[in-house]
């Protein structure tokens, strides 16, 4: 395709993708509470409010706690499963893998409703623990897929060499396999972390009225009117995601993680 057509096309897509973010960043800097763009005077007061008002600080803390623990839990489920699947190709491990990726294939409301009926029955409805475990299961797909990619990239001969030299399976895992898989674990954790931070419906169904996460807080404030703090939260979220994915892109192999076969060729 000709270069001009391509550039115009890419420009339009970039405009549409960044347009909403530009308006939100503008509004977040507004000096007055009135919703207006371009901003009337620049001020950081809505960012300060986000970090000082308890009504925003508590959801921030809840969201970070949930994202931190649930992605750790997701990682702990994904690592042994991906290892087992790579080491022994047996059908029941395959079946578990399919199970692990299914929360991502179904519309989230279905999984969320399943969690709701479970936690109500168990009696933990409304507890933060319920949100943590639910998020861990809901996002286990991400570390599972990235870590499996990591195992696939290990050259079998290296493992065999370690075993020929007398290393037992524990030593091989600790000294050879684990260091090679570690970057994929970090990316999987980061994916799960960012998505947990942004997740709404599972968190809402499982404990929405007692454990307010940031997305729930934003939606609640959206319902009852408008405050520029919502805009400043949005900017913080975008920057955080860009930072985390930027780090993965800088230190990891993002094209490969997303499924390109030979990124070096381009």
């Amino acid at each position: 395709m000709s270069k001009t057509v391509r550039n115009i096309f890419l420009g339009v897509v970039l405009f549409l993708l960044s347009g909403p973010l530009v308006v939100v960043s503008g509004v977040s800097l507004n000096a007055k509470k009135r919703l207006f763009f371009p901003p009337e005077g620049v001020s950081m007061r809505w960012y300060v409010e986000l970090l000082t008002e308890n009504s925003w600080l508590i959801p921030v803390k809840n969201s970070l706690t949930i994202a931190f623990t649930s992605s750790l839990l997701a990682l702990s489920i994904a690592l042994p499963l991906a290892y087992f699947l790579w080491r022994y190709r047996v059908f029941y491990a395959r079946a578990l893998f399919t199970l692990g990726i299914s929360p991502f294939i179904l519309p989230p409301v279905i999984t969320a409703l399943g969690f709701l009926s479970f936690w109500v029955t168990v009696g933990l409805y409304g507890q933060m623990l319920a949100t943590m475990i639910s998020h861990a299961i809901f996002f286990v797909t991400l570390p599972l897929v990235t870590i499996s990619l990591g195992f696939e990239s290990i050259d079998h001969e290296i493992v065999e060499a370690a075993e020929t030299m007398g290393a037992n399976s524990r030593m091989t895992f600790q000294t050879v396999i684990f260091p090679m898989v570690r970057p994929y674990m970090i990316s999987g954790y980061a994916f799960a972390f960012v998505l947990s931070l942004n997740e709404y419906i599972v968190a809402y169904m499982v404990a929405g009225f007692t454990v307010e996460t940031l997305p729930i807080k934003i939606f609640n404030s959206l319902r009852y009117g408008y405050t520029p703090v919502m805009a400043s939260v949005t900017v913080v979220f975008v920057l955080l995601a860009a930072l985390i994915f930027g780090l993965i892109g800088r230190f990891g192999d993002l094209p490969k993680l997303l499924g390109a076969l030979n990124p070096e060729d381009h």
Partner: protein
Amino acid sequence: MIGEKPKGVRAHLTLAYPALMLGIFFIVPFGLMAAVSFFHRQPGGFYIPGFELTNYKNLYTVLFGRTLVFSLFVAGLSAAVCVSVGFPFTFFITRMKRRAQVVWLVFLMSVLSLSEVIVGFAWSLLLSRTAGLSNLFVWLGLMDRPVAWYPGFVALLFGICYLAFPYTVLVLYPPLSRLDPALPEAAQTLGASPIRTFFTVVVGSLRNAIVAAFVMVFVFTLGAYLLPQILGRPRHWTLSVLITDAAIYQTNMPLSAAMAIFFMFVSLALVALTMMIGKGKKLRTA
């Protein structure tokens, strides 16, 4: 060694923990929800175990039917928009230098991770009267006075496409980046124009991937829950909203569960379709 059969209890211990976690916290909740969909609802929000088809029979309402059709329609339309814009877009990305690719991918991943509520909020600002795009048009002299472009169907469509677009690109990225660059080059050497090459060679050889991406995005957009409430009017509410509404606000878990199970079968049928298309592709290349 790798690929061998696991021997004994010790080898299987590795698998025990993930199996237990997924079993207890994913299979049990699903089974429970399926069971609840057959339970008997009592006035006041409680339900007692039993087996009846009342909840499924109660699905046959005008509201449910209309909502289902509308959800499928919106999802189909936005998936079509996303794939037709996303396919050439992803093609361009995969032909870029690695560094440029990474920058675009980081940007797309950042947009993808945004919560639905944030996407809805951002679009409601962009389409609002006081801070929105129409102000820019007034300033450019294209319009007389600023207007609000939401709530409405078009606003909803834009929001859903925005939400699904990065996902579309990620679904299309692997097949497009694996496409042999020699293929379009050969077509151009033989005299085809770049645009003709794109439509005949690139689109043609990836037809299955396009259909698979369409179905994936279709199912993804079926999950839209907050956008219809933020950018649409009540008549634009989707099945996800209806299910949540029944569970939380009407405290009718059995009905809500029945809706979810029905919804799941519709989605699973679509996923099965994707897999069938994937299999057909493998057979053809083999």
